[in-house]
Symmetry: C2
Subunit: 392 residues, 2 copies
């Protein structure tokens, strides 16, 4: 579980893969000189309980790659589109120490600790305001701290396309081509006609953002070809973003501007503690993207996953020929399509399991049918009801 | 798990149930004055791993009734057919202390510690030789230490019938009317024509003992009506048993007689250590019952189980309306027919499980399809191969 604090040395396999990509261009290198990124690192990922807890949320865990947490992998990925000093992480007080330890390459100024969770809206807005004060011409991207991307080259291509679209004063989101009728994701409806095209692909207008659908709706979405998965990847000019923010979330725009003005001065803490609690708790999706009239989407295929539950994580892990993903000291026979994750030294005997998830931690054990893995949330809710928060 | 050393006080519910039985008779009371019982307490019950281990085998565990081990429950049961001073337990050195602590009501002379395991043949034979020296006219019964009986009244009736048959100089076994085509039990084929009848039911000759059959054979057995389950319950005159032993296992007969002659004298240890290792390792079934020409069977229905695996134990435990047997700190949703047993204080979340066994101990975890629960044996074998005997 322990994430190593050392970033992988370049050139890594991933770098070479990207360098081999045909669409990498010198143009981008100059373009990305003013590209900044922010990683809002919040959320607890209760559907990955009992490994994910309030104190060690999903983004701090090494789930997909050994010794690199999802947050670290996100930073690793962004190094291919963004200069190291142009990255920013926004996290809460309970995770500030862990984030700092996991990312020793970031300066103190690159880790913003928000006093309390207010959703991605205020978090991204504060980052934008802080970036704007350093570089008013900045283009900025926001990327979730706890998602996985298999194809780095396609990720870089998509960001490049989005940067170009952002230069057209759009709020740009990267939408993932759906590969199945997933009910755990939000969807983005796009117009068929491209708004314009770039070297990196077509850029489309967005008709609407839609919340997690039921299975019938999700199936219709996928069949229609007009919907993409919302991967919480956003790219825009900081100036355009602040303008839209002033229109749709004026209190947030004013609040983060006040905080940004005080940032790095003796008044920082006082102003922050005065202003922040007054801000609405709202996601950037609900607060801005669903309301703005200048939202565009770059469709992409990059093997993206939000690792929403143990089933989803299982699809990302190495598995044997029977489809089992196993981490731990196990002796198994006759198991298929099962996911086993152990954080203990106990021996685990698995016999005849089909589509079962077993997650073993020192103080809690989960055994679930894989197709119902998302219901683990209810267990966490129940533990909270029972005041057993030490287990949550 | 800890078994209490205090036997239940009389009159218990069970006693009252037996007293209410219509077939209890004064005749039996006088008959059972010379009835002795032996409990061979061996075997490790590897199919109940990871709770059952070499050091704490099945018979020492409180599996069916809280705070009374299977051994203690066996003794409790035998108190209804046998005087307390006429009971004997034969166990091995690793379990002598636990057996003694669990059965404080037994005298030192009632607990026989065999130097090494030699199967039920020598164990029962030694007990018989020791009993014969105290009461040459004794009738003796042998009962496994780790089986369960639901219906005590029917058990008492069956033993009474078997005692009467034993008085006819038969080696008598109690055969259980099969309720399903069980492949985990040995079977006894009986002749339809009763050899004779008693107040307690018909006594039949035995045609053959058969080993654990495959499912097709087991189904045919049950349909034929000519087969009973072998429950390892044997009743005979000690004199008749020793006579048959001299015929079919003469070296065992001679060996246990030499040991019994030295028992309680200064030579006991020397003679035992000299003779015992020379005895063959053989079960009483293979060595005697399958070969003797004077074997009879008393058919009985008493809710008997050998608790052969977690599935079998599950059928004996209290279950909820969805068929789940749960012991431990659990939060579950949508589970059916599952068995959960915890010896830890960990919280266990169970979601959507169907026919799954979960057994949680401090150093080992078992998750198995219930229909394949008997394969846990292979896990124990594998652990031994890997020299991880601390887990076996």
């Amino acid at each position: 579980m322990a994430a190593s604090s050392r970033p992988p040395s370049h050139p890594s396999t991933a770098v070479r893969r990207v360098r081999a990509g045909t669409r990498m261009s010198r143009q981008l290198t100059s373009m990305t000189n003013n590209f900044w990124t922010v990683i809002p690192a919040g959320g607890s990922g209760t559907r990955l309980w009992p490994v994910s807890r309030a104190g060690t949320p999903k983004f701090l865990l090494s789930l997909v790659q050994e010794r690199r947490s999802l947050l670290q992998q996100t930073v690793d990925r962004l190094r291919f589109v963004c200069q190291p000093r142009h990255m920013m992480v926004v996290c809460g007080p309970p995770h500030a120490v862990s984030v700092t330890r996991q990312l020793p390459e970031l300066l103190e100024s690159q880790i913003v600790v928000e006093p309390s969770p207010r959703g991605t809206g205020p978090a991204i807005a504060l980052a934008a305001a802080l970036i704007e004060r350093q570089d008013p011409d900045a283009i900025m991207g926001s990327f979730a701290a706890d998602h996985a991307v298999r194809d780095l080259s396609e990720f870089v291509n998509a960001v490049q396309g989005a940067i170009i679209a952002a230069c057209q004063d759009q709020l740009v989101t990267i939408g993932i081509q759906p590969t199945r009728p997933e009910t755990g994701y939000g969807y983005i409806e796009w117009n068929d006609d491209p708004a314009f095209t770039t070297d990196f692909g077509a850029i489309h207008r967005v008709s609407s953002f839609v919340e997690k659908p039921d299975i019938a709706t999700a199936t219709a979405y996928v069949e229609s070809g007009r919907y993409l998965w919302n991967a919480s990847m956003f790219i825009w000019k900081v100036s355009v973003f602040m303008e839209e923010l002033r229109t749709y979330l004026p209190e947030v725009a004013a609040g983060v501007s006040r905080i940004a003005d005080a940032w790095g001065t003796p008044e920082q803490e006082e102003v922050t503690l005065d202003v922040w609690p007054q801000l609405p708790d709202i996601s950037i999706d609900n607060g801005l993207m669903e309301r703005s009239q200048r939202v565009a989407v770059v469709p992409a295929e990059m093997g993206w996953s939000d690792i929403g539950d143990w089933h989803g994580l299982g699809t990302l892990l190495k598995h044997d020929e029977a489809g089992n993903c196993v981490r731990g000291d196990t002796i198994s026979s006759g198991c298929v399509n099962s996911v086993v994750w152990s954080d203990t030294k106990r021996v685990i005997s698995l016999i005849g399991l089909n589509n079962i998830v077993v997650v073993d931690t020192p103080d809690a054990l989960l055994v679930a049918d894989r197709s119902q893995a998302q219901l683990v949330r209810a267990t966490v809710s129940r533990l909270k009801e029972l005041n057993r928060t030490n287990l949550c």
